[in-house]
Amino acid sequence: MKTKLIPIVLGTAMGAAATAANAATLDDVKAKGFVQCGVSQGLPGFSNPDAQGNWTGLDVDVCRAVAAAVFGDASAVKFTPLSAKERFTALQSGEIDILSRNTTWTMSRDTSLGLNFAGVTYYDGQGFMVRKALGVTSALELSGASVCTNTGTTTELNVADYFRTNNMPYEIVAFEKSDEVVQAYDAGRCDVFTTDASGLYAERLKLSNPGDHMVLPEIISKEPLGPVVRQGDDQWFNIARWTLNAMINAEELGVTSANVDEMKSSENPEIKRLLGIEGAFGEGVSLSNDWAYNIIKQVGNYGEAFDRNVGPDTPLGIARGLNALWSKGGILYAPPIR
């Protein structure tokens, strides 16, 4: 890991001019012909490589959508697996163009790291997983427990706050890679495994007996996860933000990858604007007018991406919950395209 971090930091230090923040990322991306996307080192459902090295997941789909918007080709993406520790430096130094790696949007990250969050792809919250055999039913019974987690994440801070406010002693065992957290927890080094609830469901699949473990009901934090870009490049920021908005709007308007071609002849003006039949919304983000059409055709709308990667029919089996559209009881809400 360090071997990767040092050149990145040196890169920042030397200020590799070509990738500096004020340069137009879009031009760089077009010149090299693909989007360089930072993802996790393997989190099922969000960004996970299969045996052939093909990445799948919700975070991955966001990257593919950006590529579809820019190039009209969702496969024009290259992925850089990053640890929690490396991710921001990799983005700051220009090693990647967009970071889509279950990253929590917080004020300090947004304001003091030279970064901008483009939106929320998944509303998450931190939870706890324990062995069923412990007989624990609530996180408030975890006094004196040892807790395994990742270093360099908001998770680590939340768990400290939670145990401190509830006056419970605890012991934290923090690893750099999530695979090692899972292994240590599986071996019994810790009583509790904590991370974002979505992550708990995903990592549970890697345990030797997933059925022996349960996620406790308490959610102790707000973890809005979303893609991140460098601050100071409004054009690229707009592309990332509106790619996500287009996916959410498409779901709301009932446009899917299956019916997007028929929808082109729809009379609904909102759909017409989304698909570039009416107006020139591509111009605003320096893209072709069918940018959103390409996203939906090749990647699908938000609901499709959710169902395909983390939804009830996947091994993760996560319900839409908060992540349902605002019109369906959730809080997913995208500004209109007009």
């Binding site: 890991m1 360090k2 040092i6 930091v9 920042t12 230090a13 030397m14 200020g15 500096a20 923040a21 004020n22 929690a84 520790k85 921001f88 430096t89 700051q92 300090s108 990250r109 003091s112 790291l113 030279g114 055999a133 412990l134 007989g135 624990v136 019974e141 975890l142 004196g144 427990a145 040892s146 270093t151 360099g152 994440t153 680590e156 801070l157 768990v159 400290a160 706050d161 145990f163 401190r164 002693p169 605890y170 012991e171 934290i172 065992v173 923090a174 690893f175 750099e176 890679k177 090692e180 292994q183 240590a184 071996a187 019994g188 080094r189 009583d191 460098r230 601050q231 100071g232």
Partner: protein, 405 residues
């Protein structure tokens, strides 16, 4: 070549400045320094510009902010409300702890294996050979993982234990549990006695050496020193009414399952992360030290042994007084490198959740985003540790060097 007139020996005035080796040497050195200064300055100013342009905060002010994260092992007081600076201090001492324990174990093990490698006993020397070849050819990170995960899965879980030494030492997945010595009033006298004992032992050794040089009479230095350093404090300890008690780790077997096992904060707990890391570092570095020791001993000509034997020295004396002192001159410089390697390799702690300087620094880096400042701190600390180690070893080397009269 021809700046000096062959006949008169005078320096030719025309070519003097350009061709004068001194002036030329000076010119190139000034040029080199100027280039270095320029490169350094442009790196620094470029960095500052880029940081400002990317809206990334810089400076060391963040060290005073509240850290907010927990650390599993701290030798100095630390809580979540402590500052980032204090967290880094905790990491620094943990690094130091691993380095010191690792160096001691690696040196002892390395010397034993190195000497065993030269043993006349075929089995012992082959075993030592196998150890060296096996261990030094496996990457250190793999060994750390092996000790951590393989051993972690072999020992009992948290609700169970293995006990040793009349139920005083326990081992389970949460680490090694030992009784913790608790000092009582009066214990400071024992410390004073220890210091006095050490001072007396040193004085005794100097006196014994002078006497031997003057009269040739030997004095049982080691036994007497042992008596002074161990015996004296022991007598004071007993006289003061044994001002120390052991607080044993508390093992709970009843109640809710989560509460069972050893209670946090009772006794002394060496966490498995520390055990795995020091074990792996010592065993790995010892394999290199063993080879250095073997090379050092083999570098002493066999004639020296024969000469010593001819003088009537026994085997043990020959090794201690003739061979080892000469071998040490060969051993110390590469040994220093191994100590430095061990210290720097301790940064692999991050892989097994041991909170050393790099691990804690990484967390701080991530929480604050102050990459350049943290990397600078890492560099300064490791550089200082390395320079201190090598300064000490150089001093020792000078002491051990052959004094030519």
């Amino acid at each position: 070549m021809s700046t000096v007139d062959q006949d008169t020996g005078e320096v030719s005035a025309r070519a003097s400045l350009v061709n004068d080796p001194k002036v030329r040497g000076l010119f190139y050195q000034v040029l080199l320094i100027a280039v270095l200064v320029f490169v350094g300055w442009s790196i620094v100013s470029n960095t500052i510009d880029n940081l400002a342009r990317q809206n990334i905060a810089s400076g060391f002010g963040f060290l005073g902010n509240t850290a907010g994260f927990g650390i599993i092992q701290a030798l100095v007081p630390y809580a979540e409300t402590s500052s980032y600076g204090q967290a880094l201090v905790v990491g620094f001492f943990n690094t130091l702890l691993v380095a010191v324990i690792g160096i001691v174990f690696a040196t002892v093990l390395g010397f034993v294996v190195g000497i065993a490698r030269l043993s006349n006993n075929w089995v012992i020397s082959r075993l030592a050979y196998a150890y060296v070849e096996l261990i030094r050819n496996i990457p250190l990170l793999l060994q750390i993982f092996f000790w951590y995960f393989a051993v972690l899965r072999a020992v009992p879980d948290k609700r169970d234990r293995w006990s040793f030494l009349f139920d005083t030492v326990h081992l389970n997945i949460a680490g090694l549990w030992l009784p913790r010595p608790e000092l009582e009033p009066g214990s400071s006298a024992v410390g004073v006695a220890l210091l006095v004992g050490v001072a007396a032992a040193i004085a005794m050794r100097i006196w014994a050496r002078r006497r031997q040089e003057a009269t040739g009479k030997q004095f049982p230095v080691i036994l007497t020193a042992l008596g002074l350093i161990v015996g004296l404090p022991l007598v004071v300890f007993l006289a003061a009414g044994m001002p120390l008690h052991l607080s044993h780790p508390v093992f709970v077997e009843e109640g809710p399952i989560l509460r069972r096992g050893f209670t946090l904060g009772s006794g002394m707990n060496l966490i498995p992360e520390l055990l795995a890391l020091t074990l792996a570092l010592s065993i790995y570095t010892a394999s290199f030290i063993a080879e250095i020791v073997r090379a050092g001993i083999q570098a002493v000509s066999h004639g020296q042994t024969e000469a010593a034997h001819a003088l009537g020295l026994r085997n043990g004396q020959t090794l201690r007084l003739v061979v080892i002192p000469q071998a040490m001159r060969v051993i110390i410089p590469p040994l220093t490198s191994q100590f430095l390697n061990l210290t720097k390799n301790s940064s692999l702690a991050v892989a097994v959740a041991f909170p050393d300087l790099v691990s804690v620094g990484g967390i701080v880096l991530n929480q604050t985003g102050q990459a350049i400042e943290i990397i600078a701190i890492w560099m300064i600390v490791y550089l200082s540790l390395s320079l201190a180690t090598s300064a000490f070893m150089n001093w020792y080397n000078r002491r051990m060097a052959l004094v030519e009269r």
